[in-house]
C-alpha cells in the first residue's frame, strides 16, 4: 500500500505536522513505534477514513481511498479496513455474538462462528462486554474487526492494558489471523518485546515524521552487537548474589538467569525489556 499523508493537527501541545510518505508491502506486519502524541493514532485514523488528511494519497492494492489531487475521499464504510481501537469500542448494548453479527452484512454468515471458535469466544458469546476481562474484550474486538474480512488490519495499541501473560497469548492470536487471512497489518505499539516478536518492519515516528525504518532487530540492538545468538525478554527479578547480581529474564516462556555486575544492572529494573546475547561462546544445539 502507498501512503503519503500531510496533516496539521492542533493538540494540547501545540501544532503537530504529520508528514509521511511510504510504501508498505502487501501481507506485511508493520509496527508504528514512537512516544505518545507523535501522531501514530492519527495515521491509523487517516488510513481508515475517520480523519481526513490535508493533502496526500492513500492507495491500497488497486483501490484509491484518498487522493487530494483527484478530490477522492472514500468513506470509512467503503474502505476495506478492520480497526481495533485502543479502548476496544465494544457495543455495550450487545452481547459478544451480537457485536460480531452487527459487523456482518448477513447474520447467518459462517465467518461469525468461525471467528468465535478461532478466538476461543464460544463460551462467552452470550455475555455482555462489561462482564468480560480486558483480554477477552480484546479478543472480541479483534474478532469483530475481522468479520467483514478486511485485507488491512489496523491495531491501535491493542495490548497496552493487558498483563504480560495475556499479552503474549494475544500476540499469538494476532499473528495467527494475520497469516491465516493474508492480512496487511499495521500495529501501533510501545512494547519492544511485542515489536520483536511480531513485526516484519518497524517504523519509528517522531514529531509526525518517520525517522527510522528497518527490521526490529536493527532498531533495538543499535546494530552494534554482532552476537551469534540473541534474544529479547523481560527482566523478572534482580538478586544480589555475593559480589554479582543474578538477573532473571523471561524469554518467551523460559526463564533465563544471567550474571551481571553492578555497573550492568545500574539502569535495569524489573519489567524492563532487554536483549540477551552471547558473543564469544558457541551455543550448543541438541535434539530434544
Amino acid at each position: 500500500m502507498k501512503l503519503s499523508l500531510a496533516k496539521n493537527l492542533r493538540g494540547a501541545n501545540g501544532t503537530l505536522k504529520i508528514n509521511i510518505d511510504l510504501e508498505i508491502g502487501d501481507g506485511k506486519l508493520v509496527t508504528l513505534y514512537g512516544e505518545s502524541g507523535v501522531g501514530k493514532t492519527s495515521i491509523l485514523r487517516m488510513i481508515s477514513g475517520l480523519l481526513q488528511p490535508d493533502d496526500g494519497l492513500i492507495r491500497f492494492s488497486d483501490a484509491i481511498w484518498f487522493d487530494s489531487a483527484l478530490k477522492v475521499n472514500v468513506k470509512p464504510q467503503q474502505r476495506d479496513v478492520g480497526f481495533v481501537f485502543q479502548d476496544y469500542a465494544l457495543f455495550p448494548n450487545m452481547t459478544v455474538k451480537e457485536n460480531l453479527e452487527f459487523a456482518a452484512a448477513d447474520k447467518e454468515d459462517e465467518v461469525i462462528d468461525e471467528l468465535l471458535v478461532l478466538m476461543e469466544l464460544v463460551d462467552l458469546q452470550d455475555r455482555k462486554p462489561d462482564t468480560l476481562s480486558g483480554g477477552q474484550k480484546q479478543r472480541v474486538a479483534l474478532a469483530r474487526a475481522l468479520v467483514r474480512k478486511p485485507k488491512l488490519l489496523l491495531l491501535d495499541e491493542p495490548m497496552s492494558a493487558l498483563d504480560r501473560k495475556m499479552r503474549s497469548k494475544l500476540q499469538e492470536y494476532i499473528l495467527n489471523v494475520h497469516r491465516k487471512f493474508g492480512l496487511t497489518t499495521i500495529l501501533v505499539s510501545h512494547e519492544t518485546g511485542e515489536i520483536f516478536k511480531m513485526s516484519d518492519e518497524v517504523l519509528v515516528l517522531s514529531e509526525g515524521a518517520i525517522t527510522f525504518r528497518d527490521t526490529p532487530a536493527k532498531l533495538f540492538s543499535g546494530n552494534s552487537l554482532s552476537g551469534k545468538f540473541k534474544f529479547t525478554g523481560e527482566v523478572v527479578s534482580i538478586e544480589k548474589e555475593g559480589v554479582v547480581y543474578i538477573v532473571s529474564v523471561l524469554i518467551g516462556n523460559d526463564l533465563v538467569k544471567v550474571v551481571a555486575d553492578s555497573s550492568e544492572i545500574e539502569n535495569l529494573k524489573e519489567g524492563d525489556q532487554v536483549l540477551v546475547a552471547s558473543k564469544a561462546f558457541n551455543p550448543i544445539i541438541q535434539k530434544i
Binding site: 477514513g49 464504510q77 480497526f83 481501537f85 457495543f91 452487527f102 469483530r144 467483514r148
Partner: protein, 223 residues
C-alpha cells in the same frame, strides 16, 4: 371538579412528548457532533425557553399564529389550520416550550459516549443512521428516559404559554393548570384543590420513577 381538563392535560403532554422525541433526537445528534460555528447560536435558541418568561414565548407565538400575521395566514391558506386558541396551537407552543428538556439530556448522553463507538460502527460499514439507532440511542437509555419524563412533566406544568395562546376554552384548551386558576378566580377552592392534588401526585410519581430507574434501584429491588 371535571375530568376533561385532566384528560386534556395528559393528551397534550403525550402528543408533545411523542413529537418532541422525534424532533429533538436529530437536533441533539447534530449538536453533539457538529463542529459548526452556528452551534452556540442553535444551543442558545434551544435553551431559551428555560429562562424566558412563558408569557413572552406565548405572546410571540400568539402574534405568529394570528390569522393577520404572515405565518398564521400561510397556515390557514395552505393547510387550513388555525393555531391560535386551538389544541394544535397548544401542541406547537408546547413543543417550543419543552424543547430544551428533551434536547439537552439526549445531547449530553450522546456527548458522553466514547467517540470510538461511532467510529467502530463506521469502520464496520454501517451508516450514520444505523449507528444512531442501533448503537448510540440504545446506550443512552437513561438520558432518553430523563428527556421523555422531563418533557412530559414540564408540559403538564405549563401555564403561561397556554394562557396566552390557548385561552380557557373547555374541552379544547382548558388544561388542568388553567382550570385551577379558573376555580380559584371563582373562589371554588375545593375543585381547585382536586386538580392541584392530582397534578402534585402525578408529577411526584413520574419524577420518582425516573430517579428510581436511572439510579438502578429498580434492578436492585427486582433481583
Amino acid at each position: 371538579m371535571e375530568w376533561s381538563p385532566i384528560i386534556l392535560t395528559f393528551e397534550l403532554a403525550a402528543v408533545t412528548t411523542l413529537i418532541l422525541f422525534f424532533l429533538a433526537t436529530p437536533m441533539a445528534y447534530w449538536l453533539s457532533f457538529t463542529k459548526s460555528q452556528f452551534k452556540p447560536i442553535v444551543e442558545t435558541l434551544v435553551a431559551l425557553p428555560i429562562v424566558l418568561p412563558p408569557t413572552v414565548l406565548g405572546f410571540y407565538l400568539l402574534i405568529a399564529f394570528s390569522p393577520n400575521s404572515a405565518v398564521g395566514q400561510f397556515l390557514n391558506d395552505v393547510f387550513g389550520i388555525q393555531l391560535a386558541f386551538s389544541f394544535s396551537g397548544l401542541v406547537v407552543a408546547s413543543i417550543f416550550y419543552s424543547l430544551p428538556f428533551m434536547v439537552q439530556p439526549i445531547q449530553s448522553g450522546l456527548s458522553n459516549l466514547s467517540s470510538s463507538l461511532t467510529e467502530a460502527s463506521l469502520t464496520l460499514g454501517k451508516s450514520k443512521f444505523t449507528t444512531l439507532t442501533k448503537i448510540l440511542l440504545p446506550n443512552i437509555k437513561p438520558s432518553i428516559l430523563t428527556g421523555i419524563v422531563l418533557t412530559f412533566a414540564h408540559t403538564i406544568g405549563e401555564f403561561g404559554v397556554v394562557l396566552m395562546i390557548g385561552g380557557n376554552i373547555p374541552d379544547k384548551t382548558r388544561v388542568a393548570s388553567i382550570a385551577i386558576y379558573n376555580e380559584v378566580e371563582s373562589l371554588n377552592y375545593s375543585a381547585a384543590n382536586g386538580y392541584a392534588i392530582f397534578l402534585l401526585i402525578v408529577t411526584f410519581s413520574v419524577l420518582l420513577l425516573v430517579y428510581t430507574v436511572n439510579g438502578g434501584f429498580l434492578k436492585k429491588w427486582m433481583s
